[in-house]
């Protein structure tokens, strides 16, 4: 793992990722469809940042902009202070569906990010094997993805992102397709893995509890066109345990966020009427 965490003595740390005043609209049937409106956020090195927002508010669109798939109408994307707006290949990405390649074994899927970046296959394989063991996927190295359960596929997809050489990981609702129990397992699994490695993470979710459990910072998005409604610092110490979800402070924060979300949802419903 190449860590770009702060070198001791560096005075001011540039954020690992900074989104500065991003706006984006799509043209649909000659009508302008504003999706993102002046979004700014930042992820410091080793920070876990979540974005919570209503469905269709433009969260995935923001990821596509950060990943360079489309260009913003306004604003910049900065990586360690460098402008990377519209450039591809600077972030590692874990999509909503596992999107493993069915013709590749689990091991070969996990090394894909490294392979594309030009890491020698031998080296990549050795690293992948070690991580597959740690992720509870030992023994599945040479199995094809369709033999794995949804949770296991998602873990492989996450490893593929984790082992990629880019410093910032973008996760787009990686657990939304899983059942509640698997989802909760995966959250704790991710929490453990991340606390051991401290990559800079930008994480999209619908689930407020998930965001609170995992994150250092949560950005709350409004409905479309998305703006940043609120930025919450999550004060709970690390390493975090499952029991934190029963902590009164956790519950208060959860209620507060839920209230905000509900108001947003209402606004959206009224808007569509």
């Amino acid at each position: 793992m190449d860590k770009t965490s702060a070198i001791p003595g560096t005075p001011v740390q540039a954020p690992a990722l900074e989104v500065r005043g991003i706006s984006k609209s799509f043209r649909e049937k000659r009508r302008e469809l504003p999706v993102l409106n002046d979004i700014s956020l930042s992820v410091t090195p080793g920070e876990f940042v979540s974005i919570v927002g209503p469905s269709g508010s433009g969260k995935s669109t923001l990821f596509h902009l950060i990943g360079g798939l489309t260009e913003p109408d306004q604003g910049q994307i900065l990586l360690q202070g460098r402008d990377i707006t519209g450039q591809k290949g600077h972030i590692s990405y874990v999509p909503q569906q596992p999107a493993l390649f069915p013709w590749r074994t689990i091991e070969d899927n996990v090394i894909l990010g490294m392979e594309v970046a030009g890491v020698p296959v031998k080296e990549a394989r050795a690293e992948a094997r070690e991580w597959l063991l740690r992720a509870g996927l030992g023994g599945f190295e040479t199995v094809y993805p369709h033999k794995l359960s949804g949770g296991m596929q998602q873990r492989a997809s996450f490893l593929r992102g984790l082992l990629s050489r880019q410093e910032v990981m973008c996760l787009d609702e990686p657990f939304s397709a899983l059942d509640a129990l698997t989802r909760s397992d995966m959250q704790h699994w991710l929490l453990n893995i991340w606390e051991e490695n401290k990559r800079s993470v930008l994480f999209i979710t619908h689930n407020i509890e998930e965001a609170l459990l995992l994150s250092d910072t949560v950005y709350l998005f409004s409905s479309r066109p998305a703006t940043v409604l609120h930025k919450f610092q999550i004060p709970f110490p690390r390493p975090r345990r499952e029991e934190i979800a029963e902590d009164p402070a956790f519950l208060t924060l959860k209620r507060e966020l839920t209230q905000y979300m509900r108001e947003e949802q209402h606004k959206m419903l009224e808007g569509s009427r």
């Binding site: 596509h64 990943g67 360079g68 798939l69 591809k88 290949g89 600077h90 972030i91 590692s92 990405y93 999509p95 909503q96 569906q97 999107a99 390649f101 069915p102 013709w103 590749r104 894909l112 990010g113 392979e115 594309v116 970046a117 094809y144 369709h146 990629s164 880019q166 973008c170």
Partner: protein
């Protein structure tokens, strides 16, 4: 294995029944041999000069395979070129589709005028009938690439070549192979027609000769050989498909 047997025996029984009825029919109604020979007549004729038939079969098989390989290559190259150059695709793809409304056989005399009676016009005919299903299946498969996977590859900075080799091509492979299957049966047909119009030393030419002397039994022998050749080629490609797409054991079921 058992289920395989269950699948095979009903059509097998049907074929045997069909041959029996044919045999009985020809003797009961005393049909002339030059109109419709009985299966046993055909069998006897096939066994009469196997060496000669074998040489002719080999000759046709050679022509078929050569034509098929060229047709596949042309189809793939066209598809890949159109895939990488969208302008070319929007300009040429409709024309390629349109070209399939021209019965290729109609071009045969022209090809003979241009290229004579040797190998070239025959290969052109086979290529013309083979490239199309492969090109269309390949283009179709390439353009269907899963969007999430494609976005993933683009976001992590994969080059066009990497995306093609690591994602688009393997993704399109099942589609390409179904095109190859169609092309393989077309190639046998193309080879026979090519031999009919020109000279040659294969089964098609053998058929033409027997036709002029009303040796219906021998024409039937030739038909059998062509059918078997088609089936073998098809089976070969199905096996190739099974081997190449072994990551998905039961494709139909999911």
């Amino acid at each position: 294995m058992r289920s395989w047997f269950k699948m095979v025996w009903p059509p097998l029984v049907a074929v045997i029944l069909f041959i029996l009825i044919w045999q009985l029919g020809t003797s009961v109604f005393a049909i002339d041999k030059w109109v419709l020979p009985s299966p046993s007549d055909i069998g006897r004729e096939a066994a009469a000069d196997p060496a000669n038939l074998w040489t002719k079969t080999l000759s046709t098989l050679q022509l078929t395979l050569l034509g098929l390989v060229i047709g596949l290559a042309v189809g793939l190259i066209i598809a890949i070129a159109l895939h990488f150059i969208p302008v070319l695709k929007s300009a040429l793809y409709p024309l390629i589709i349109l070209s399939q409304n021209i019965p290729t056989i109609a071009l045969a005399p022209l090809l003979v005028v241009w290229f004579g009676f040797d190998l070239t016009p025959k290969l052109i005919i086979i290529t013309l009938v083979c490239f199309f299903p492969v090109a269309v299946a390949t283009l179709d498969g390439l353009s269907r690439t899963d969007h999430v996977m494609l976005n993933y590859m683009r976001m992590i900075g994969a080059s066009k070549g990497q995306i093609f080799r690591k994602l688009e091509l393997p993704y399109a492979l099942p589609s390409i192979l179904s095109g190859v299957k169609i092309a393989s049966t077309y190639s046998v047909m193309g080879a026979i027609i090519a031999e009919w119009m020109g000279s040659g030393s294969g089964i098609g030419q053998y058929m033409m000769m027997q036709k002029s002397s009303f040796r219906t039994d021998r024409i039937f022998v030739a038909i059998m050989i062509i059918v078997v050749m088609s089936l073998l080629l098809f089976t070969l490609i199905v096996l190739l498909e099974k081997w190449l797409i072994r990551y998905k054991p039961d494709q139909e079921k999911h």
